[in-house]
């Protein structure tokens, strides 16, 4: 009797959360899945097309995936580029700054400077980056610097060249998100017990060896947290692409998140766009599960 009461109370406690989850997560997801099987334009899709949207996306949409020409291109390929370079970049730079700035006199100044782009909105940062990359050397800082260093340098339109544009966008992303990576890793680095590091030093380990053999293994948890956060960020990237290039030139900087937005709101193809969203969910879902599990484990350990 008493147990049933406790059980009931437990359910009562989780009920609000369950209702909210059902209304704002489960229902929209199922609705998106259903919509992705419909064709036509507008938010009230009219005719059932089965998996045709998916088929078209993966085989007949050269801006989403093009494998008929080497190297393969399209939003999917660009997103893989984002995943590797953006996640890798933020992680490496974050770790580098966290470790190198540690204990330096201007540590707080350096860290504030690196964290600054995190504070402003991504759209504002994207506008700033657009100026930075401008082909006009009187506006574009990057071209101005290169011109000052190399006298015969011809200004490059970083955002207008298909071969370069993705790297320009990714480097902007790294510039913005390194702040977060640095903060998390720096906090973890500082929490390493100094006694352990001293013990290593006493045993004759140099700074290099101490870092690789002692510090880094102790940072595995926060590093994988940052890595997964950044991978999720790269998979749902949209704001930088939308503001800086609108997917151009000629669609060469599209990513999955952008394609979803563009198909639904620009092209009015809600079913087709939903199919993109579902494809986006496939790699995201397991990552989310891993992330939530880890948080639960950490909290359980406390």
């Amino acid at each position: 009797m008493k147990e049933r009461g406790a059980q009931l109370r437990a359910w009562l406690f989780v009920l609000p959360a369950l209702v909210l989850l059902a209304a704002y997560l489960v229902y929209p997801t199922l609705q998106t899945l259903r919509t992705s099987l419909f064709g036509g334009t507008g938010f009230n899709p009219t005719h059932f097309v089965g998996f045709r949207n998916y088929l078209q996306l993966l085989t007949h949409d050269s801006l989403f995936l093009r494998v008929t020409r080497w190297p393969p291109s399209g939003a999917l390929v660009n997103n893989i580029l984002w995943l590797i370079l953006f996640s890798g970049g933020t992680l490496v730079f974050g770790l580098l700054i966290a470790v190198l700035a540690h204990g330096v006199r201007f540590e707080s100044v350096v860290k504030s400077a690196v964290f600054l782009p995190m504070v402003i909105s991504a759209t504002a940062a994207a506008v700033i980056a657009r100026f930075l990359f401008s082909p006009d050397a009187s506006i574009g800082l990057l071209n101005a610097i290169l011109k000052a260093l190399i006298p015969r340098f011809a200004p490059v339109a970083w955002l207008g060249t298909s071969e370069v544009v993705n790297y320009a966008l990714i480097s902007t992303g790294v510039w913005i998100w390194t702040g977060l990576s640095m903060t998390v890793l720096s906090a973890a680095y500082k929490s390493i017990d100094t006694q352990i590091l001293e013990a290593a030093r006493v045993d004759g380990a140099g700074p290099w060896k101490t870092f690789w053999r002692i510090s880094l293994p102790m940072l595995v948890q926060p590093i994988s947290f940052v890595a997964i956060t950044m991978i999720i960020n790269s998979l749902k990237m949209i704001d930088l692409v939308l503001v800086m290039t609108a997917g151009g030139p000629a669609g060469s900087s599209r990513v999955i998140g952008f394609t979803f937005y563009w198909e639904v709101f620009n092209n009015n193809l809600v079913g087709y766009g939903s199919a993109v969203a579902i494809l986006m969910l496939i790699p995201l879902a397991p990552l989310m599960v891993v992330q939530v599990r880890r948080i639960r484990r950490q909290e359980g350990g406390k």
Partner: protein
């Protein structure tokens, strides 16, 4: 806690009374909600029209200007939270809303029409009425129009060259060559915004293939993007920008990363990167904002987009916004009639800021400022007027696939057929 309740309860009751009270007051004269894309000067011009309406009728309005109004409107309609009146820049979307039953017919030949047939016929030519008609009923009231057949140049630069404004396409090409011979870059294109390229193509296409083919290509897709007429127009277009290194400010990649405003600024700034720029009549407002010291009509001016085939002369490609109505009430009807009437349109056309070119034929040409009068004259005297083709096509074609195709043609003109084939593939499944 209980004492707090005693304090709050009367407050709540009072608050409830106040809100319901004001609710009743509002019901007597409903506030008309309006959604459009206009901000800044454009908004100021429109508000002048609305303020005059409020003053005369006593009906209040609330205006929301949103750069992304198309997106906002779409989600608000889906959520059953549409404004009373919205301005839609694409006739294709008016048709879509009409067919899904979201908007009301403004005229269907009935006695109690929101906009009576007599009013429409007295104020608008057939071309504009046809534009707002879907399946025999009139849904979209053209509120303002603009010409996209205006080619911008600098009179002083032309004089220095000893040249005249080009009348034909060949004149234009030889003008470019003269600029190159003088050591200057002739042309700037804001190709990052793909629609500047569709505007280029549409002006060329309607001049070569005529308005019928133009409509068949964009509206019904009876003409394919691989049609010889399209290929011929694309080859003409390629003439104007190749070789890209010599003719385009910033070359290929510079052009592809230049937006439509920057493209114009490139020819107007003190150390110009180019001498000619093509885009619509609305560019003059950007020139005014970015270069307040330059005089309109003197430091910069436009000539009509040159003719190509004498058979068609100089058709005007134009754009416009159509007012559609989502909810019916006497107040909304009053405002709709105001927007279709002579008085409202004259106020709009003569606004100090954000004046528009009104398609309403009752508005006198004398109300317009210099360049706008020129544009209005072009619009009213045009023998052929076609609406911006990419706005008439499904969004996936006219708002996306065309952009990509034309950007690819700027980049790689030799392989224009690849670009057209891909475009046709999208078009084939979009109509």
């Amino acid at each position: 806690m209980r004492r707090m309740m005693f304090v709050f309860l009367p407050l709540l009751v009072a608050g409830f009374l106040v809100t319901t009270g004001s609710g009743q007051a509002a019901a007597q004269s409903k506030t008309v909600s309006i959604l459009a894309t206009w901000g800044g000067d454009e908004e100021a011009g429109f508000r002048a029209v609305l303020d005059a309406f409020s003053k005369q009728s006593g009906v209040k309005y609330s205006y929301e200007g949103n750069r992304d109004s198309t997106v906002v409107l779409k989600s608000r309609v889906a959520a059953n939270n549409a404004p009373d009146i919205a301005f839609v820049p694409r006739p294709g979307e008016v048709a879509a809303y009409a067919r899904e039953g979201s908007i009301l017919p403004l005229n269907q030949g009935a006695a109690n029409d929101i906009l009576p047939t007599s009013l429409l016929n007295a104020n608008y030519s057939k071309a504009w009425i046809d534009l707002g008609t879907v399946d025999g009923k009139f849904y979209g009231l053209i509120a303002k129009a603009n010409s996209k057949s205006t080619f911008w140049y600098k009179p002083a630069s032309l004089r220095a060259l000893g040249a005249k404004t080009p009348d034909t396409w060949d004149d234009l090409i030889s003008l470019e060559d003269k600029y190159i011979a003088a050591g200057k870059t002739p042309l700037s294109i804001g190709a990052q915004d793909g629609w500047t390229l569709t505007d280029w193509f549409e002006n060329i296409y309607v001049r070569m293939a005529g308005p019928d083919m133009y409509m068949k290509l964009h509206v019904t897709h009876e003409v394919k993007w691989t049609d010889p007429s399209v290929v011929a127009a694309i080859q003409k277009f390629i003439e104007v920008f190749t070789p890209q290194d010599k003719k385009l400010a910033g070359g290929v990649s510079g052009t592809l990363s230049t937006g439509f405003i920057d493209g114009f600024s490139l020819i107007l700034r003190p150390d110009p990167a180019a001498e000619l720029y093509y885009e619509g009549g609305f560019m003059s407002s950007f020139a005014k904002q970015n270069f307040p010291k330059l005089a309109a009509g003197k430091d910069y001016d436009f000539f009509e987009f040159p003719s190509i085939d004498p058979q068609y002369g100089k058709p005007v490609v134009g754009g416009g916004d159509l007012a559609v109505e989502f909810a019916s009430s006497p107040e909304v009807t009053k405002l709709m009639r105001w927007l279709a009437g002579k008085q409202g349109n004259t106020i709009w056309a003569s606004a100090k800021k954000g004046a528009v070119v009104s398609p309403n034929k009752q508005v006198s040409l004398s109300v317009y400022p210099v360049l706008t009068a020129k544009e209005a004259k072009q619009l009213t005297q045009a023998a052929i007027f076609v609406f911006d083709g990419s706005d008439l096509a499904p969004a996936a074609v006219g708002g996306d696939a065309e952009f990509v195709a034309f950007q690819n043609i700027i980049k790689d003109p030799d392989n224009y057929m690849d670009a057209l084939n891909t475009l046709e593939e999208v078009a084939a499944r979009s109509y």
